[in-house]
Amino acid sequence: MKNKITKRMLLFRCGTIALLLLIAGLMFIVGRGHTVYFDNKKVSYDGKSIDTPPYRIDVYVNDERVAKLSAGDRGMCSWMGQDFRMRMEITKEKGGKKQIANVALKIPYNMDGIVLNLPALLAGFPQDGYLTEFVPAPAEVTAEDEEIVTDEFGLEGLDDGMEE
């Protein structure tokens, strides 16, 4: 009698589960992380090309400088969510004046790594022109299999042999 599940309670329970699922779903979207790579490199797209990238670009994300890119450099940062915002300070040539550009763009949900070609972005290329998916170099996967250590002492690297 005491623990009988009433209809009302069932409703509340379903509600809670739904709420949890909703939060989970929300976290999927809000928390989706991307690694954003910035290229300050030559680029050509659709016949147009930029051959001389700026001398230096400083990239600020959340008011924090995440990359200092000379021509030909690549930098990176992590970003959570799909609305990517950054500020760039561009120095066209050595000793030149700094230009500031604020950029906001949508990152496709299913891309883990995104390469942004900054010169192309600044030049106003269409999205395909400056945004490509980052594919990790296959060479990274070497045949060496790491040995699984299932028997470690755990906290702060004291090891003990578990069973024999």
Binding site: N3, L20, I23, A24, L26, M27, F28, V30, G31, R32, G33, H34, S78, M80, D112, P136, E140, V141, T142, A143, E144, D145, E146, I148, V149, T150, D151, E152, F153, G154, L155, L158, M162
Partner: protein, 385 residues
């Protein structure tokens, strides 16, 4: 005749109680042996180790944020009379499974933590249910049983994580997966989650970082536990913990209540593990959980808790003293003996010794209570004569 006898018995009982009160200071000392021992150890080691107070405070705050939630998970089974829940490891494993997924799905930061916690809930509940059922079958041997359960489920965890993930359960990223195509790597980086909760609302006071958000979360759990004690279920658990038979006669479903207590503990431990690992910043897939139970239990006992009694105060005192010892022991050990490993081993030894002593004290106390009646009778006989 009977009148006389009865009243003398009453008197004896009273004098017995008075005697108890006289020894109260001694009792207080005796029942707090472990914390006092630890205060002494720390007092000796701190000056030798040569750490600055700011450094120590910083470290302790970090570790407090990291571990407290996990330790709090132990309180509920103690309340229900099931002893120290060595099976809290199960919750930790559930959390790790959640984190592996989150890490593979590339969900970052606090949303990642929340998601990992939500994933861990059903797994923790299932494991807690299994654990509770087994412990009900092993009444009177709960602690050994829960200890072995943690090993047993660890085997199943390995089966899932090492063989089924990547082959049956889809795992995409090579940063998580072993090069051979299935199984999870030894370490899974949680860099994108690292200290995200700790840094949220963090305050810096003279170089000491206070992880405010973490403490708020811990505070909420404390409030929950305080509130929980006032609920019907909490009351039932206390009743079951003190006398199963009486509780059963009064109509409380003892078995169910015990299962629920383990289940809650497992879920809380799962959350605690997520908090713990976000602070560490990486997950040792096959070992992070293995000693969690032991360290949490040792810390709780250092705080003056016993197998059948523990409070939130014990948790905070315990986590402070235990981790203070943990920080200073290696360096103090190295300074004294010239070997850095000595201190490392020393703190491991102390953790185990504390649990051993606490268990021994609990068992001897149980036996001492039994023999008190005989003393009373002998006293009464003298009073009669």
């Amino acid at each position: 005749m009977s009148n006389e006898n009865a009243t003398t018995k009453g008197n004896v009982l009273q004098t017995g109680q008075q005697k108890k009160k006289g020894n109260s200071l001694l009792n207080l000392l005796a029942s707090n042996t472990v914390p006092i021992m630890f205060i002494i150890i720390c007092a000796v080691c701190i000056p030798i180790s040569g750490f600055s107070p700011a450094y120590l405070i910083n470290e302790i705050l970090t570790r407090m944020g990291r571990n407290t939630f996990l330790i709090l998970a132990l309180l509920i089974p103690i309340m229900a009379g099931m002893g120290l829940n060595f099976g809290m490891t199960l919750g930790a494993m559930a959390a790790e499974i959640g984190l592996i997924f989150v890490s593979d799905w590339q969900i970052y930061g606090i949303p990642g933590m929340v998601l990992a916690m939500i994933i861990s809930i059903p797994i923790s509940m299932l494991l807690g249910l299994i654990c509770g059922k087994i412990l009900n079958a092993a009444k009177g041997r709960e602690m050994v049983a829960s200890y072995i359960i943690s090993f047993f489920i660890n085997g199943i965890y390995q089966l899932i994580v090492l063989y089924m993930m990547g082959s049956i359960i889809p795992i995409k990223h090579t940063t998580v997966k072993l090069p051979r195509g299935y199984g999870i790597r030894n370490t899974v980086s949680l860099l994108n989650m690292r200290q995200k909760l700790d840094d949220l609302l963090a305050i810096n006071v003279k170089g000491v970082k206070i992880p405010v958000a973490t403490f708020i979360v811990i505070g909420l759990l404390c409030l929950f536990i305080v509130w929980f004690r006032k609920t019907k279920l909490g009351q039932d658990m206390r009743a079951v913990g003190q006398d199963m038979e009486v509780a059963r006669d009064a109509g409380i479903d003892v078995e169910r209540t015990r299962i629920i207590s383990i289940l809650m503990s497992t879920v809380i431990a799962g959350f605690g593990m997520v908090i713990y690992l976000q602070n560490m910043g990486n997950l040792s897939t096959y070992s992070s959980h293995s000693q969690i139970g032991m360290f949490a239990i040792a810390a709780l006992l250092v705080g003056g808790a016993s197998v059948d009694k523990a409070s939130i105060g014990n948790v905070f005192l315990g986590v402070t003293l235990f981790h203070l010892m943990f920080i200073v022991a290696p360096s103090a050990g190295a300074k004294i003996t010239g070997d850095s490993m000595i201190g490392e081993y020393f703190r491991v030894f102390v953790s185990y010794a504390v649990i051993t002593i606490a268990l021994i004290m609990y068992e001897t106390k149980k036996r001492r209570e039994k023999s008190q009646m005989a003393e009373l009778l002998a006293a009464e006989q003298e009073a009669d004569a």
